[in-house]
């Protein structure tokens, strides 16, 4: 499912530009093609370079296990797993940057420095959002936290949820390197963030990286969907359909955002992320009021 989101995003962008665009399943073909290829590994790198992408994929996958998909409970959940969730993302980022720095290329160093700088802004936003949700639901585990707004849709819950949704949307775009923050299609190393870090990875390792980034978008999108559409129906297969539909709509909306906006200047990106922090913080203040 996750790479399909990229397919939908690309299709939306192509439609906006009046092109036919690549097939919906192209991201899958790309990953399969990459998996079959050989690898070129630079002599200067160490084991970190090879293990980085694998560890990234694993941490993102484990983080995904903590999030309830649609109306179903997450496979794992315990009190306080929201902190584990955030720092699993942190760990995956650490290994991506570490394996990028391992090559010693100056472009990759630049990319890593940008990635870490922007992550420092998006993490507080995520925590403010989680704190607001914790206050709203009175529970410290992601599974029950994200499910609870639907049970007690009280008077003063909608306004903070709107704020949290805006904030989380920006965080999602930043974390999965979409356009206002980073352009995934850029060909100039100077303007890259995430792409610059994976320049030296090839073959299966690059396939793993692309799958991991799709998975990251999918997981953050799932968290966001719980905030945007807290309603569920009691029939379970309708819920699945609804969830898939919501996910596709979210992908289309990302495609629209990418088509109508240009990438921000590097120095303006922190403004956007700080406004995301502010939105989440306001949501938090509104609940505490």
């Amino acid at each position: 499912m996750p790479p399909l989101l990229f397919g939908v995003i690309n299709k939306t962008k192509a439609w906006f530009a009046g092109r036919t665009g690549m097939p919906l399943l192209q991201p899958y073909y790309d990953i399969i093609k990459l998996m079959r290829k050989g690898m070129v590994i630079s002599d200067t790198t160490t084991w970190i370079f090879r293990f980085g992408p694998v560890i990234t994929l694993m941490t993102v996958f484990i983080a995904g296990l903590l999030v309830p998909m649609g109306s179903f409970d997450a496979p794992f959940s315990f009190t306080g797993d929201l902190i584990l969730f955030t720092y699993l993302f942190g760990l995956s980022r650490f290994f991506t940057t570490a394996s990028a720095l391992d090559t010693g290329s100056s472009f990759e160093g630049m990319g890593s420095s940008r990635e870490v700088t922007f992550a420092a802004f998006s993490e507080p936003a995520l925590f403010f959002a989680f704190a607001a949700l914790v206050k709203m639901s009175g529970s410290f585990s992601l599974s029950s936290m994200l499910h609870s707004p639907l049970e007690e849709l009280s008077i003063d819950i909608a306004a903070p949820l709107v704020l949290l949704a805006i904030g989380l949307y920006i965080v999602m775009l930043a974390e999965s390197c979409r356009i206002p923050v980073d352009d995934p299609n850029t060909h100039l190393e100077l303007t890259m963030i995430h792409e610059a870090m994976v320049l030296d990875h090839s073959g299966p390792l690059f396939g793993i990286i692309s799958y991991a980034s799709a998975l990251k978008l999918f997981i953050l999108g799932t968290v966001l969907l719980h905030v945007i559409f807290p309603f569920r129906i009691s029939i379970s297969w309708v819920n699945w359909l609804l969830y898939i539909l919501e996910m596709l709509v979210l992908a289309v909306s990302i495609g629209v955002v990418e088509s109508v906006m240009a990438r921000l200047q590097m120095k303006h990106v922190p403004y956007l992320l700080i406004s995301a922090i502010l939105f989440c913080a306001f949501g938090f203040v509104l609940i505490f009021r």
Partner: protein
Amino acid sequence: MTNLINSLLVLILALNLFALGSSRIQSIIHTAAIQGVLLGFLPLLVHSHLNLSLLFASLTAIMIKGVLIPHMMSRALRNVQIKLEVEPLIGLMPSLMLGAIATTFALLFTNQMPLVAEHTGKLIVPAAISTMLTGFILLTTRFKALTQVIGYLILENGIYIFGILLMGAMPMVIEMGVLLDVFVAIFVSCIIIGKINKSFSTMDTRMLSSLKE
């Protein structure tokens, strides 16, 4: 219903921050326009029963604030051929922070205010205060005349939100009168900005103090 009103007001708060954080005058104009349209829908939601005059008033407000005034300002902007607020008195980041602090205090202080019971759950008062303060910040910290006009418009939006509290007591005619005043004021100032720019080839209001008789 309260949920819907609060969501709308929260969007207005978000637009306030956006207006403070962007440096392109055109995008600030768009922000003010969207805010005007959202505000036009507000009286329809606050009143439980719809009547024709209310619908008319709300439609007029949307037309004037969402279409007419932004259109005029965009034209004035094209005439003077500038795009950016280059150097505000305080930078974009500090003014964004100032706006955020103002909004937070507005949210926190509303609890201390003695409000009528039917308004306590709603965010009308904090949204009004925060929008007015945003207008003040834009008015005082930006030097381009056009941005100051937008600041004035956002300030008026804040007062309009306050006016919604009195909707039952105040006849719609007063609201319409205010709307007309705003329209005329902005119409005149857009012309004046064009003239100032033509005569002095700048829109910087700091230069006005150097005028002599």
